[in-house]
């Protein structure tokens, strides 16, 4: 225990819980990762749908998608979360009974969390996809049509692969925000990382140590993610490299200096 003036910091506790986390923290980390991945994947899929709707030739569809995007991006996630969980249950619309999925039991709060984060993310991904699709040169669509591609075939093999190059950097940012955003779920009682840490805190009162540990774990997750993102982006940019440069980087890496 370190004491400096009125400040106390339990270094032993801190180090022990940081490097040898109890099962509850491990569980919290896994929950955080699982929730973030599921909500992000759902957000990407739904967001693509929102983008297609926003680019539709039907004004009605465009309008609805615009409205969706406007509402979900213009309100705080915390408020959305409490409407979807507490509000919806209080109104008697849906009371979130537990759902058994094989050996997994999906609790009410977890259901509400996944729904809210997915729908929220769809609004943001919708904007990102729309922007990316709109930057594709008109001539690409002409060329795809000219070899007999239907709109869906052209989307899959010509437009989307090119749009993904523009989508990946903001998608990485979105996923980072998603990982951090899951910490809000503790308010409705989801046992993700921060919720677990708060639980331990209520038994040990090592608040500063525990919250620091949570912050360090979040930082570790987002750091790993940013490294993965850099690899993916480099891979997507392969075809932009001039012929000579595809050889060069390897050489400088291998050269002993």
């Amino acid at each position: 225990m370190i004491h400096i003036g009125g400040i106390s910091f339990d270094l032993d506790f801190f180090l022990k819980y940081l490097f040898n986390p109890p099962e509850m923290i491990w569980h919290g980390i896994l929950m955080t990762i699982a929730i973030a991945i599921i909500a992000q994947v759902a957000g990407v899929v739904l967001g693509f749908g929102v983008a297609i709707a926003r680019l539709s030739k039907f004004a009605m569809l465009r309008g609805l998608a615009g409205l969706y995007s406007w509402a979900w991006r213009g309100t705080p996630v915390l408020v959305q979360l409490l409407i979807v969980y507490t509000g919806v249950a209080a109104a008697g619309v849906y009371r979130y009974p537990e759902i058994a999925l094989g050996p997994l039991l999906i609790s009410g709060p977890l259901q509400a969390a996944l729904i809210t984060l997915s729908l929220n993310e769809a609004a943001y991904m919708g904007e990102i996809f729309r922007g990316a699709i709109q930057t594709i040169d008109r001539g690409q669509i002409d060329a795809a049509r000219a070899i007999g591609m239907r709109p869906s075939t052209a989307m899959r093999w010509v437009i989307l692969p090119q749009a993904m190059r523009t989508v990946i950097p903001p998608l990485g940012n979105e996923f980072t925000l998603m990982i951090k955003g899951t910490s809000l779920l503790s308010v409705i009682g989801v046992r993700e990382l921060f919720g677990s840490v708060q639980n331990i805190n209520s038994a040990t009162f090592k608040t500063f140590e525990l919250f620091l540990i949570a912050a360090i774990w979040y930082l570790a997750m987002t750091t790993v993610l940013s490294i993965v993102q850099r690899f993916v982006e480099a891979r997507l940019r392969r075809h932009e490299l001039p012929a000579a440069a595809t050889v060069k980087p390897n050489r400088s890496l291998l050269s002993a200096r």
């Binding site: 002409d142 060329a143 000219a146 070899i147 007999g148 591609m149 239907r150 075939t153 692969p161 075809h239």
Partner: protein, 274 residues
């Protein structure tokens, strides 16, 4: 000005009817097209026979590019008819009425109509080989291994056998345009449309593209070519069609167009080019 779709020798000069009087592979009949208030095509009629090379010339804004884009329905015409291989393009006829075709139906027509663009429009995320393969594989659903052999042969034919694994950004303009020609040929089209294929090229790479087109013409490909390359028009084409303000104003053999008996109009056009 409305042009008759005549087949007789006397009307040929003005309508672009083909001299042999064969069943045309492309038939454009009294086509009108406007963009908003601006009328781009004002009743254009043109028949192209199988194996014929027709060069479209005229000042910019005369409607050449729009005409070519209407033939594969990249633009929907307002009035008139276009047939390719005997099939009505862009519309289906129901009880005497014309109804625009579905995208899927239009896509099926386009499989048989090759097109080469001024700005190549290669798919930048695909290698040269993949650019050529994507049509047969993803549109015709043919087996990859078989398509790959054909694609490699096509790229060799346009002189790019060494560049199959290069991405478009690693190729010169002339090379990219040759890949684009191979990409169109991979669909085994019955007619090839060229929209100013050499206008965006550096002068030193123009000839390599024109050579490929020359060989294609020699091989009997039906071609409709919008170009300002008068040497190509004179040496390769069977017929030169001149457009002005959305209408065909002259059509004839290259000899007639470039020869001593040429009209005042073609004289003025040719001198403006120099």
């Amino acid at each position: 000005m409305v042009l008759e779709l005549g087949m007789s020798d006397t009307s040929m000069e003005r309508t672009g009817g083909n001299p042999a009087g064969l069943q045309p592979i492309v038939r454009v009949a009294d086509v009108h097209k406007s963009f908003g208030q601006v009328q781009i095509l004002k009743g254009v009629s043109l028949d192209v026979a199988r194996g014929e090379v027709v060069v479209l010339v005229g000042r910019s804004g005369s409607g050449k590019t729009t005409l070519v884009r209407c033939i594969n329905r990249l633009e929907l015409i307002d009035k008139g008819r276009i047939y390719v291989d005997g099939e009505l393009i862009g519309y289906k006829e129901k009880a005497g009425k014309l109804i625009p075709e579905s995208e899927a139906a239009v896509a099926r027509h386009r499989r048989h109509i090759g097109m080469v663009f001024q700005r190549f429009n290669l798919f930048p995320h695909l290698t040269a080989l993949e650019n050529v393969m994507v049509g047969p594989v993803r549109v015709l659903h043919r087996p990859k291994s078989e398509v790959q052999q054909e694609a490699q042969a096509l790229l060799a034919k346009v002189g790019l056998g060494e560049k199959v694994h290069n991405y478009p950004s690693q190729l010169s303009g002339g090379q990219q345009q040759r890949v684009a020609i191979a990409r169109a040929l991979a669909m085994k089209p019955s007619v090839m449309l060229f929209d100013e294929p050499t206008s965006a090229l550096d002068p030193e790479t123009v000839d390599e593209v024109l050579d490929v087109m020359r060989n294609l013409a020699k091989g009997g490909m039906t071609m409709i070519v919008v170009t300002h390359e008068m040497r190509f028009a004179r040496d390769v084409s069977d017929r030169i069609v001149m457009m002005e303000a959305g209408a065909i104003v002259e059509a004839g053999t290259p000899e007639a167009f470039f020869g001593n008996s040429r009209s005042e109009r073609s004289k003025a056009f040719l001198s403006a080019l120099q």
